[in-house]
Symmetry: C2
DNA sequence: GTAGAAGCTAACATCGGTGTCAGGTTCAAG
DNA sequence: CTTGAACCTGACACCGATGTTAGCTTCTAC
């Protein structure tokens, strides 16, 4: 398939798909005229890439782990080196910390939401207009 | 306390603390000479701000919810408006999606790590992906 | 009063994935 | 052919929190 279809099917912009290729995350055959031609497996691969990006990994890291995942092509194809494993472990810890931050913040939001929903417009404390005007 | 100490105690750079003030997230009295002077409660507040930033909230959003949290000053001080509640609910959903992405990506990392650690040179046969002990 | 540490403001840089525009080429259907 | 959609490359812009530097002022301890 071509880039337009891949973009449509994955929800990722053509711009991003070209960027992925530039970063070595995605390969494409070319037609004689130079247009990209993707195999079906590209859809899965793009989805995977997106997930990893969404988790805050950098393209360089994604580049390194892609061949170690059983993925688009169905085959793991490579085993991570000890160095890479170390890096991924650090990345894993970062992810854990982020999850914890998210959970904490979600609690905070919930509390604010619940407080507001539970108590109708009753300024608990009309006092101190300590709200600094927006900068 | 002054900015240097606050920075040390919170692990947040002076640059960021000044930025927070500029965004209206943090207030400080000033000495005659113009130096910032923070109350003890600032430490907690900065920590809270950091958590919210880490969860991907923008300073504008943080600005709006800060007065609705029971926080540094100990008092909730304000109740969220319906509009804000709506916004926070959307934010909450974004956080949920992000958590899911992180969990998925963590699984992927775990699989790569386990495969590499467990099998010196063999096609993937991963044992139980290590228990999600984050949270 | 003086030296040096600590603060102040202001301005510019950075990172990295993505949006967008420009100017040109290819593809497919009439 | 011709035409219009789809694609190509390349370059620049953006966001937003944070780093960094510069040049100056204030504070504190001697």
């Amino acid at each position: 398939m071509r880039i337009g279809e891949l973009a449509r099917r994955t929800g990722v912009s053509e711009r991003s798909l070209r960027y992925y290729e530039q970063q070595g995350l995605l390969v494409a055959r070319r037609t004689d005229g130079g247009h990209r031609e993707y195999p079906e497996a590209a859809v899965d691969r793009v989805v995977h890439i997106q997930e990893l990006f969404a988790a805050g990994l950098h393209s360089r890291t994604i580049y390194k782990i892609l061949p170690c995942m059983r993925d688009s092509d169905g085959s793991p194809s490579e085993i991570a080196t000890p160095l890479l494993v170390e890096e991924l472990t650090a990345e894993r810890e970062r992810i854990d910390r982020t999850i914890n931050d998210l959970l904490r913040s979600r609690e905070v939001l919930d509390e604010v939401i619940v407080t507001a929903s539970g108590a109708p417009s009753q300024p608990a404390r009309p006092a101190q207009p300590s709200a600094p005007e927006a900068a």
